[in-house]
């Protein structure tokens, strides 16, 4: 019962994040929505593991957390430098402003 309630909460959070990703006026709203959705997915898989009586699924939740982190870093790097291979201190000015929509 408790896990069912937790799952309902996670699904509600998913719906809200989805609304932000679909409506989000700026790119950063959507990037944040993607990152948050990854976190909520981690939670959903953890809760699902307990809901289905197989808590071993927690490993997958850990992997998702790692992937989510790397993906967000790649997207933000693209926004900041316009180049995925740029080193952090290349001194190029951020060009996210003009293409921010």
């Amino acid at each position: 019962m408790m896990f069912a309630a937790a799952m309902a909460g996670v699904l509600a959070a998913m719906a809200l994040t989805l609304v932000r990703a679909l409506l989000g006026p700026t790119v950063f709203d959507r990037v944040l929505a993607l990152n948050t959705f990854g976190t909520v997915t981690v939670l959903a898989i953890a809760v699902l593991g307990f809901l289905m009586g197989r808590p071993q699924f927690l490993d997958i939740a850990l992997l998702y957390a790692l992937i989510n982190f790397v993906g967000t870093i790649a997207i933000l790097k693209y926004l900041q430098y316009g180049d995925l291979g740029a080193s952090g201190d290349s001194g190029k000015s951020p060009d996210a402003g003009e293409g921010g929509r």
Binding site: R30, L34, F37, A44, L63, Y64, G71, A74, L84
Partner: protein, 211 residues
């Protein structure tokens, strides 16, 4: 609760697919495709296909998003506006028909249902593999593999050569991608020889190779 979760996730997927088809900003579409991938992976976990969910998360949400972003660097951020709406009607009808056919196959009484233990796929080889794996895992046997996972035993032992071939294919693809990307970076550095602390060594070595 599982059914309700399934329905909610599938509804989210439908909404996302509709939005991806409608939105013309490619950056936004890339974000939404990443979310779509995560949702699909959750559905796979619900269907007990954990290994597929692993792959979907790593490839769909991780690599594909990065690849889409690299492609966006070379193209425009906005897709061209649709010329006429009737042109997309044909593919729409085709996709709806195909989807209806797939749904029909799940409803046909002659087809095995989801999770049916008597399905033909579960009748012949699976019981033998399950029994053999249990036999081999016994700790007192000299040939014990100590692998309590049937999937791992099948992948690494029963069809080990097949897996080796797959690994060779993936390795070749990875090397090819690295060569393509690395060649591009060298060309860019040669065209733009501004001295940078990090890449000056690599740039000079590239120049030496070219001379």
């Amino acid at each position: 609760m599982i059914t309700a979760t399934n329905l909610a996730l599938l509804a989210f997927l439908a909404v996302l697919a509709w939005a991806i088809a409608r939105i013309r900003n490619l950056f936004v579409v890339t974000m939404l495709a990443g979310i779509y991938s995560l949702l699909t992976a959750t559905v796979f976990v619900l269907l007990d296909a954990v290994d597929v969910a692993f792959t979907e998360a790593a490839v769909g949400a991780g690599i594909t998003t990065v690849l889409f972003l690299s492609a966006l660097l070379l193209t425009d951020r906005e897709a061209k506006p649709r010329k006429n709406r009737l042109a997309s009607l044909g593919p729409m009808v085709l996709v709806v028909l195909l989807g209806a056919a797939l749904v029909y196959t799940t409803l046909d009484p002659r087809m095995p249902h989801y999770g049916d233990a008597k399905a033909p796929a579960h009748g012949r080889l699976a019981p033998e593999f399950l029994a053999d794996t249990v036999k081999q895992v016994g700790a007192d046997k000299p040939t014990a593999t100590h692998i309590p996972n049937v999937v791992t035993t099948t992948l690494a032992s029963y069809r080990g050569f097949d897996t080796l071939g797959e690994v060779v294919v993936i390795f070749t693809a990875g090397v090819g991608v690295l060569i393509l990307l690395g060649g591009n970076a060298t060309r860019r550095r040669r065209r733009n020889p501004a001295p940078r602390e990090e890449s000056s060594g690599a740039g000079s070595s590239g120049k030496g190779a070219g001379a």
